[in-house]
Symmetry: C2
Subunit: 384 residues, 2 copies
């Protein structure tokens, strides 16, 4: 038998080892990679450029999206099957999980971090959850698929209704009693986004050309239509994939938009919301994303060009780099200050990490059919 | 004697309790408040709105500034006495500390988080440290006081030389062999800042009117003088305190600058860098800081008006709120998404926390002569 002293020493050593194993670390350089085919996420460290753990049992993760708690410790994973999972990144386990709908395409977290909101296809509408407990606090029924959910200041949320052709803003100042205002959008809004300052909400239209714009700082002015030629247009070009509006980049007073059906990125002046130019690219753009400083815009493409990525220098106004990071590039995410970009190559089962200054590939990580990549720095930003 | 089983149960319980005590938590909602008179920082939690720990022994913290490690776990505290301390926010203790100069006024951290750089008065120049170990890697001697140090993309740093009238940019791609380029600035630059996108470096001049501007994306164009009437001017107004340039707000295509010696905030168009208006305020502004979304600009004042704070609505272009948060308001910091602002009231020994939407005071925290307030979200931003 050990003596009491030796037991205490042993215990202290175990205590320290145990703490280290259970994840005492900062969360500012963490993130997740969605492994869509496996119902799994990989927890990644952007400083070490490595996968540090995996969490299983998250259901159908095709088209899954992720937001983060205010402290960076928890990832809220919205599955296609309506599952909402709160994952503890430090302990690498599911903290809580609810099935909240039959068919869902994502969610958002409130400015103060207290509310998680899911946008649903089936049934439509949004549901409001306590971010800590995942208790259902309220819902806004809509008899319509909801798309393009985005958080605004003051615990408000903007979203678009595909079947109703409207933009709604729900004020969750009292989360058990949402107050909703409705604005016309146009035919079949299919996605939406808010500008990085949280001011302008835009909804892309599937049923007609143009984009619906709402100034959420002055909602009393109502919505209006901009870029009336934006869309599939008259020529009926084959559209391989409707681009993600969430991918829009805003940099230096211009928004960079994926053209629909064309091998172009469109430039829009954010003061007038009129087209300010076009840049030719290698395929039909899907995501058009700005490096955090706005100096570069990275573009990936729909099939058959989805093995390519191009980089636009916003100062020069031209493509300055063309890369082949892997097969079927589905998503990109910049590190918080933009020195690296991570790209998921679904059909190569890897994540490629590039230095954005030298364009050197720094490393690759193995992942099963990786799709969305999300870093905890999103917790500190609006509209993600 | 306990049996082995009971020991193991006891041990497991202690293990869990010990881990909780040793700080397993996210770091995204942490920050520090400098208690300048006590050589101490308070570690704060912006979700709980509370002080969770204190760390002593940091030396002379008058004019101290703080930057954060990439993971949000460590605060680098630059003391006036040349002390550089790496503080572990999770374990609430000093991890490493070096005396790196005789008189220092701050520092910065590189884009990739690997390098911490101190700017010094005595001796002048900058010193480059390994962010992990605080090992001295190199220095750039200058025979001049260095002010306005700011991190740029690509592990470059910009700073101004008071005694030489120059702006220098040091490239630390190889941190043991800095490459420095020099640009004329004007007489006695006394502070500097970089715009939120990391592009434009500006140095305010003490020895003449005007501001030196360098486009760090096109440094080959050299520096130029803007706002030629910005400064103390001909009228020789009494200037109670030179405003902090670091406080400049950039929002919606305009920069909001503290006028020198006048009860005004100046507006500057960031496309042309020409004056675009003035807003009258209650005193001589010191910090002019934008809420992260740019909708509001908060202003504090020099003595004798340093018990007031005013809020400008950037959409209306006017002061919409006047507050008295306490005696001697020295600094302000917004939470990452801007729903709260924390203000240090030195002579009331408290920190006041306000809701930025309702302007309600949410709570106050006791602190000894609080000055700078810094939140870990700075780790993800450029130029902080």
């Amino acid at each position: 038998m050990m003596t009491m002293n030796r037991w205490l020493t042993f215990l202290a050593a175990l205590l320290l080892a145990g703490c280290a194993q259970t994840g005492l670390r900062g969360t500012g350089d963490l993130g997740v990679v969605v492994e869509r085919a496996s119902g799994r996420i990989a927890i990644v460290d952007t400083t070490a450029k490595s996968i540090i753990a995996s969490v299983h049992g998250l259901g159908d993760l095709s088209h899954a999206s992720v937001v983060f708690s205010r402290d960076g410790r928890y990832a809220y994973v919205f599955g296609r099957d309506g599952g909402l999972s709160k994952v503890d990144l430090l302990l690498a386990r599911i903290d809580k999980r609810v099935m909240q709908a039959g068919n869902s395409i994502g969610g958002a977290i409130s400015q103060d971090g207290r509310l998680v909101v899911a946008q649903n296809y089936e049934p439509g509408g949004i549901k409001v959850f306590d971010a800590d407990t995942l208790e259902l606090l309220s819902e806004v029924p809509a008899q319509s698929k909801v798309v393009g959910l985005a958080d605004l200041s003051g615990n408000r949320f903007a979203y678009a209704l595909f079947d109703k052709g409207e933009i709604w803003i729900s004020d969750l100042a009292n989360p058990r009693d949402p107050k909703t205002q409705k604005y016309p959008a146009g035919q079949q809004p299919y996605d939406g986004l808010v500008t990085p300052d949280g001011r302008h909400y835009m909804a892309g239209l599937f049923g007609e050309d143009g984009i619906a714009l709402l100034d959420t700082w002055r909602p009393e002015l109502g919505s209006r239509k901009i870029l009336e030629h934006y869309g599939k247009g008259q020529e009926k070009l084959p559209v391989f994939k409707m681009p993600h509006l969430r991918g829009w980049a805003v940099a230096g007073g211009k928004a960079y938009l994926p053209a629909i059906g064309r091998h172009e990125v469109l430039l829009v002046d954010t003061a007038t919301w009129k087209e300010a130019g076009r840049i030719e690219v290698k395929g039909q753009p899907v995501f058009v994303m700005a490096r955090p400083d706005g100096r570069q815009v990275w573009v990936n493409f729909a099939f058959p060009d989805n093995g390519w990525v191009q980089v636009i220098d916003t100062l020069k106004g031209e493509v300055v780099q063309t890369l082949q990071p892997g097969k079927a590039i589905l998503h990109m995410e910049f590190t918080p200050r933009g020195e690296q970009v991570w790209l998921s190559a679904r059909d190569d089962n890897l994540v490629s990490i590039y230095d954005t200054q030298s364009f050197a590939r720094l490393t690759t990580l193995q992942a099963e059919s990786p799709s969305g990549i999300f870093f905890t720095s999103r917790a500190a930003r609006t509209g993600f």
